[in-house]
Every structure is written in structure tokens, then in C-alpha cells.
């Protein structure tokens, strides 16, 4: 049974993720006025927001320890937060600062925090094989660590995911594949790209358990993920877990969403897993003030992280040449002159 502290942790992670992204939107759009220019402002580049996905990150990661590995997709913030990634350094990274997680080299799609074994990749489904590898390492070393790869429902048609299911099943690895089904892959509705009703059905082709959570109630996610994580930790192999989430916004900032029926957006926005969890907390006897206090603390944490990040120095141009390799290599200089 889920405990009150667990409910609180999930709630705080979800609220933090939502508030965090709301603040990112403000920062992102600042400097992109009056005309939107993706390369302008304090946060340039693509920005994929996870509003509506929070229950997935929170409900899965609550079962994880720092030595468990998580790989995220292009839409990683809510997962990173729930996995305990350093929020300040993550924010500094998104702002492209030299004290960021990746010293400004990765940006929002490529966050690496080895302290809590979190990484993400912007290529669809390509976080799956490395998660499988982390699970393989845990098995070889005889630890009970597990690994989790998150992906979107649009990623279930990609070879890298499908091969990973088979590899994990036949090697009986402690890994979860978590599909966040938000119904859309950019502009493509899921019925357009696959004939299975639910992504969890992919599991049937590879003889591993496939489980679908048909709601984004964090408590439902908690239950299903808990079972899958236990299964993995106990040496009983991988699970494919699918969670119905909702895309409250465009695919990325600037997405005109002209392809999407207004009604669909409305429905996604109505189903708010955060408010639902707030109600659950109340039902469990947590006072309204307490819930509000949690929101306030999350907001403070977000503001702190953003304020801290914005104070951080930008990397100097020469840093661009560092970190290609761990064991440094003499740079090539054209005829003696660095070109």
C-alpha cells in the first residue's frame, strides 16, 4: 500500500515539474518577442514540455534508488526531476551555462547526471539499448539495481525499442520500458502509425509481460510500476509498461498544432493528474494548507533553481574543444597553426 510520504513525494515531484516548465516557457519566450525566433532569448533551441506527463515520471521513479539507471527521451524534465537530478545544474544546462550538468554542451534533450544515473537522448527510442546495458551491468555485477527506459507511444515502431525488448527478455534483465502514451507523435495520432490498440501489446511478440495503466492517476502508475520494479529487482526480468498520459501543449514550443482538434486539447487539459493527486492527498487526511505548502515549496525550489542558473557564467568559447574524449588527445593544428 502506498504511504502518505510516498504520495507527498510524488505530488511534490509532479508540481515541481509543472511549475518548472511553466517558468521555462516564460524564460523561453522572453527574447523571442515580438517574432518567435527559435535561436533567440535566454533558452534557445527546441523545447519539449511534459505538461500532462508528470504522473508517469513521479509514479515510476518513486520506486527507484540513485543507483538505478533511467534513460529519458526528448521530453525529459518531469522524469529527471522525479529521478532526483540536480535541479539547479539541470536548469543551468538548459540556460547553456558552464556549471550546467553538461557544462552547456547538452541542452534540454541531453541531460546527464551520473550522480543519480540519469541520461537522455533526442533520438527516438535510442535510450532503450543503453538502459538495457545498464541492466546488463547490474546483472553481471550481481547488484539488485534496475534500469528504466522511458519513451513515447510514437517510439514503439522504432527498431531500437523492439530489439531492446527481445534482448532484455532473452537475457532476463532487470529493466522496465515505460511508454508514455500521449496519443500523439508530433502531428501523427497513434492509430495512424500502428494497428495495435495499446503499445503494451508489443510485449506479446517478445514473450515478456506487457501492462497498461489506462489512466494517469499517479496512484495507478505507482502500483503498476512498483510491481514491475520488484519483478526486475527480484531477478524475474523485464516488463513493458504503458501509461496513458496527456499532451497539454504542442509537441514543442512553437508548434502551431493546426493538425489537432481543439476538443482534444481541451480534454487533455481537463484531465489534470496533479489536481487529482491533490484530491487524493486530501482524502488521505492531508490538509489543504499542507498541500498548498507543498506547492509553495516546489515553487520556491523552482525559482531558486532558475535564479541560480541565470547567475551562472556562460562557457567560454575555448571550452568547445574540451571533452570530446575523456583521455585528452592533442588537437590537430593545420600546419602548426590551430585552424
Amino acid at each position: 500500500m502506498i504511504s502518505i510520504p510516498e504520495l507527498r513525494t510524488m505530488f511534490e515531484n509532479m508540481v515541481t515539474a509543472r511549475l518548472y516548465e511553466e517558468r521555462l516557457v516564460q524564460e523561453y519566450l522572453e527574447g523571442k518577442q515580438p517574432a518567435f525566433d527559435i535561436s533567440a532569448g535566454p533558452i534557445p533551441g527546441e523545447l519539449h514540455l511534459a505538461a500532462g506527463h508528470e504522473a508517469s515520471g513521479a509514479g515510476v521513479c518513486i520506486h527507484l534508488r540513485p543507483d538505478d539507471t533511467v534513460t529519458g527521451p526528448h521530453r525529459p524534465h518531469h522524469i529527471a526531476i522525479a529521478k532526483g537530478v540536480d535541479l539547479k545544474r539541470m536548469t543551468a544546462e538548459i540556460f547553456g551555462r558552464s556549471t550546467g550538468l553538461c557544462r552547456g554542451k547538452g541542452g534540454h534533450m541531453h541531460l546527464f547526471d551520473p550522480e543519480v544515473n540519469f541520461a537522455c537522448s533526442g533520438i527516438i527510442a535510442q535510450g532503450c539499448p543503453p538502459a538495457v546495458g545498464a541492466a546488463l551491468a547490474a546483472k553481471k555485477r550481481g547488484t539488485d539495481a534496475v534500469a528504466v527506459a522511458f519513451l513515447g507511444e510514437g517510439a514503439i515502431d522504432q527498431g531500437g525499442f523492439l530489439e531492446s525488448l527481445n534482448f532484455a527478455a532473452v537475457q532476463r534483465l532487470p529493466v522496465l520500458f515505460v511508454i508514455e502514451d500521449n496519443d500523439w507523435a508530433i502531428s501523427m495520432p497513434k492509430e495512424q502509425v500502428t494497428d495495435v490498440k495499446d503499445g503494451s501489446q508489443r510485449a506479446r511478440g517478445f514473450a515478456l509481460p506487457g501492462v497498461r495503466v489506462d489512466s494517469d492517476d499517479a496512484c495507478d502508475v505507482y502500483e503498476a510500476a512498483g510491481e514491475a520494479v520488484r519483478r526486475a529487482r527480484d531477478g524475474n526480468g523485464p516488463t513493458l509498461l504503458e501509461i496513458q498520459v496527456h499532451r497539454r501543449m504542442g509537441h514543442f514550443m512553437g508548434d502551431p498544432e493546426t493538425y489537432r482538434p481543439d476538443r482534444d486539447t481541451e480534454l487533455a487539459q481537463q484531465r489534470d493528474s496533479i489536481e487529482r493527486l491533490a484530491a487524493t492527498l486530501r482524502r488521505h487526511g492531508v490538509s489543504a494548507e499542507d498541500v498548498q505548502a507543498m506547492r509553495d515549496r516546489s515553487s520556491e525550489r523552482v525559482e531558486e533553481a532558475i535564479a541560480w542558473a541565470k547567475e551562472q557564467p556562460e562557457p567560454s568559447p575555448e571550452e568547445a574543444y574540451e571533452h570530446v574524449f575523456t583521455d585528452p588527445v592533442e588537437p590537430y593544428t593545420a600546419g602548426g597553426v590551430q585552424s
Partner: protein
């Protein structure tokens, strides 16, 4: 239909963005030839993330403008199969950076089947992809990878630098009986959300016309140094050349390669015979790529005339995210000017 090789500057009248010019060519070919169709992620309702297919769904319907699952191996390989069956598919790889999930179909089937069959089959398809950085999208979404495709035999590789060329090259690509990798720089497309520099929007004739592959364009004449480049760096090279002229520092010839396969080395060699000084600029990784090849061909063809050589490209690092870092590694106009001054000194 008219066939012309005149440089874009010759065209006058209606101005189009590069994306509009590309879509116009595709629409024309689709109207003329029922075997032409387009497949890609988000090419239907969305019209292509980089507006390479805007409005095509409305004109041609979902059978000819097809959204596909995020399965690049499956749909690029399906394009190979359809092309071998005589159709003329256009397959869009959203970002060229995603080539790695589908490279076997691209280089072992699409590119080689004509040769491995001794000419028994042809693979008349176009593989389009958005390329390039300059908007802080980091290491997995900012590459050009021109050289990776050009190195492997069997694909023609074209890289337009402006709307006029983009349209003519697209007509040529679709009509080609060979696989063509058509790489458009995102920053040249004229997207509302990613402003282009002024160069790529040009006058574009309404009617169809082709531009042959393997003919570089001398987009500026000059006798003191030769800059060989392509894609987005053409305008930057022109700007740098202009700056040098204003400063009285020399007259720089600028060559837009337009295609890498075939590569018009003759035009480069001829220019270097005249100028004796060569700067090669591109937005791909420096080593083992385009800049090395152009220098090597010039050394093979005009070593006697070659008095100085330089290159500017990504300095063999993945493309970093933060603005100061990305600016450092992607050659800009100022970098070209500096290199030219050093070349001329």
C-alpha cells in the same frame, strides 16, 4: 519545360523562400507524374516540420502524401522497393542526424542496388533531409553530414544554397533515375520561426526547370583567392568577400558547389589556377570530409598553382548547445574574413 543552368541571379520577378520553391517543384512533379509520392513523418497535416511539404496533402491526398510511423528503416527501405518497382518516391528524413537508424537501407540498398545488379535495376528516389545548426539544437539535431553521404558511392548528393537552385535541383532530383540525397539547410528555408539570412530568398520562375548535378556556380568572380563552399556558407562567403573588397584587401572568387556527388572539381581547379589561393568552407566535420576532398582534388589538379590553402569547418567536435560554444565551432562570416586575410597575406 525549360532546361537552364543560369545562376539564380539571372532570374527575376516573383520571390520565393527556399521551402516554397521546393514545394513548388514537388507539386509540379506530382501533378505530372502519378508515380511520384511523398513519405515522411509529419509531412501530411503538418506539412513537414521544416515546411518542405506545406499544402501538399490538400492537393494530393493521403495516398500520395503519407505520414509514416517513426520507422526510418522501414519507410526508407520501402521507398527503395517502390523505386525498384518503377515508382518515384520522395522519402523525408526529418533531420539528417537521424540517418543512423536507417543507414543500411540508405547505403547498402538505395545506393548500391543499381551497381550490384549490374544496372538491371534502378532506384529513382529522392531522400530529403533538413540539415544544419545555428539555432542551438545541440549535437543530435544540428549536423549537416554532407560528407558522410558523399563518401559512400551510389548516391548523388545535392545541397542548394538558395530558392532558385533549390527548385531546379529538386526537379532534377525527382526526374533522376538514380537515388538523390537532397539536403536542405533549415536556416535557408525561410521559416517563420527560424529567420533566414537574406540570400536564399530569390526570384523563382513559375515554370519548371532543371539544374544539372555536378555543375558548380561561380557566384562571385575574383582573382586573388578562391572560396569553395556550399549551402548556408555561400552567403557568408559572399559577405566576407564583399567585406574584403571594401577594405581593399583583395578580390575573392566564390564557388557554390551545389552538388557534392558529382563534384565539379574542374571549376575549382580552374579558379585556383587563376587565384593560387584556396579556402574551403563548410558546416560538416573537418577531418575526412568535404574540405579535405576539395583540397586534395585541387592539389591533384593544380598543385603548381597552389600557393596557399586553408579550410574552415566544424573542428571535429560534436555540436555543442550553448550559444558561445556553437558560435565558436560553426564558421561565421567573420571567421571566413579572417581566414581569407590570412590566406592573402
Amino acid at each position: 519545360m525549360s532546361t537552364t543552368t543560369e545562376a539564380s541571379t539571372a532570374a527575376t520577378g516573383r520571390q520565393l523562400t527556399m521551402s516554397r520553391a521546393i514545394v513548388e517543384a514537388v507539386a509540379h512533379e506530382m501533378r505530372e507524374n502519378p508515380e511520384v509520392f511523398l513519405m515522411g513523418e509529419d509531412v501530411a497535416e503538418y506539412g513537414g516540420i521544416f515546411s518542405s511539404a506545406t499544402g501538399l496533402l490538400d492537393q494530393f491526398g493521403p495516398d500520395r502524401v503519407m505520414n509514416v510511423p517513426i520507422s526510418e528503416t522501414a519507410y526508407i527501405g520501402a521507398a527503395v522497393g517502390a523505386a525498384q518497382a518503377g515508382m518515384r518516391p520522395i522519402a523525408e528524413l526529418m533531420f539528417v542526424d537521424f540517418f543512423g537508424v536507417a543507414m543500411d537501407q540508405i547505403y547498402n540498398n538505395m545506393a548500391k542496388n543499381t551497381y550490384m545488379s549490374g544496372g538491371a535495376v534502378s532506384v529513382p528516389m529522392v531522400l530529403t533531409a533538413g540539415v544544419g545548426g545555428g539555432y542551438n539544437d545541440a549535437g543530435q539535431h544540428s549536423q549537416t553530414l554532407y560528407g558522410t553521404f558523399a563518401h559512400l558511392p551510389g548516391m548523388k548528393v545535392v545541397v542548394p544554397s538558395n530558392a532558385y537552385d533549390a527548385k531546379g535541383l529538386m526537379h532534377s532530383a525527382i526526374r533522376s533515375n538514380d537515388p538523390v540525397v537532397y539536403l536542405f539547410h533549415k536556416r535557408l528555408m525561410g521559416l517563420g520561426w527560424m529567420p533566414s539570412p537574406p540570400g536564399p530568398k530569390t526570384a523563382v520562375p513559375e515554370e519548371d526547370y532543371t539544374i544539372p548535378f555536378g555543375k558548380a556556380a561561380v557566384v562571385r568572380e575574383g582573382g586573388d583567392a578562391t572560396v569553395v563552399t556550399l549551402g548556408i556558407h555561400v552567403q557568408r562567403a559572399l559577405d566576407a568577400a564583399e567585406e574584403l573588397r571594401s577594405a581593399g584587401a583583395g578580390e575573392v572568387e566564390v564557388i557554390d558547389l551545389r552538388s557534392l556527388v558529382p563534384l565539379d572539381s574542374a571549376t575549382v581547379v580552374e579558379s585556383v589556377r587563376k587565384t593560387g589561393r584556396l579556402l574551403v568552407v563548410d558546416e560538416d566535420y573537418r577531418s575526412f570530409g568535404v574540405t579535405g576532398e576539395v583540397i586534395a582534388r585541387t592539389a591533384e589538379g593544380a598543385l603548381d598553382s597552389l600557393r596557399a590553402v586553408r579550410r574552415l569547418a566544424l573542428p571535429d567536435v560534436p555540436i555543442p548547445y550553448a550559444r558561445p560554444l556553437e558560435n565558436e565551432v560553426i564558421p561565421g562570416t567573420a571567421d571566413i574574413s579572417t581566414a581569407l586575410r590570412s590566406l592573402l597575406s
